[in-house]
């Protein structure tokens, strides 16, 4: 059994918003959307985001400064993340591919180092945008 994380009030509000969204959300857009629920300050948002990232419920898309819910039910504390990002419509999908993650977690650099944590972002055009070209 995985460890169950009981989300606090603010964490739950913010996770629910991100989880319902079909696109990555930015911190200040989250703030704007939760002000009616009593979350007034950026720091309240960032603290919840930090915690949610830490426990693997959401991921940060580094190149976009935005956050999405983890799509991979099996990844609780996800230190190995991969995403595809459409450079036209900005659609982001999480990639859950066992072969890929195994390959990367086993990757050894020139100095013989292995890495238990990585973030990979693929860029291109999604199918929709490709067909419109």
């Amino acid at each position: 059994m995985e460890k169950q994380h009981n989300l606090s009030k603010n964490q739950k509000i913010i996770f629910d918003l991100i989880d319902k969204s079909h696109e990555p959300l930015k911190a200040y857009s989250i703030l704007f959307n939760v002000q009616k629920k009593g979350i007034n300050a950026p720091l309240q948002v960032y603290r919840a985001l930090d915690k949610l990232v830490e426990i693997g419920k959401i991921h940060k898309i580094e190149s976009r400064n935005a956050f999405i819910a983890c799509q991979n039910s099996s990844c609780q504390i996800s230190k190995a993340t991969a995403f595809s990002i459409c450079e036209s419509c900005e659609k982001v999908s999480e990639i859950s591919n066992t072969k890929l993650s195994k390959y990367l977690l086993n990757f050894t650099d020139e100095a013989g180092m292995k890495y238990s944590k990585y973030n990979l972002e693929f860029f291109g055009l999604c199918k929709k945008c490709k067909s419109k070209e």
Copy 2:
């Protein structure tokens, strides 16, 4: 022969600074360091950085909002980048590994998509920091 990019005055000043540095530099630290050379405003720095990234002379370390010179003499327009980042001392190294880049450029997702562009950041402890633990 690769296309030769003649850097403009500001681009050269900023590239030289980054290239001499042994660590990733942040935009405002760059600004501070080039003010004696007549570059006064953030935008002048960001414009040069944008161009240098575009032509592959430097890369942005997305998780750190910082910039390093391309270590890979053969990558002019580098759309396929990989780095190792030490979570303790923040040392960053560019990984130039043909097998890895081939693997990633050939990676096909569940929808059958391939991606000609990616950025990969590995996290861990560098040798020095590991031995200090």
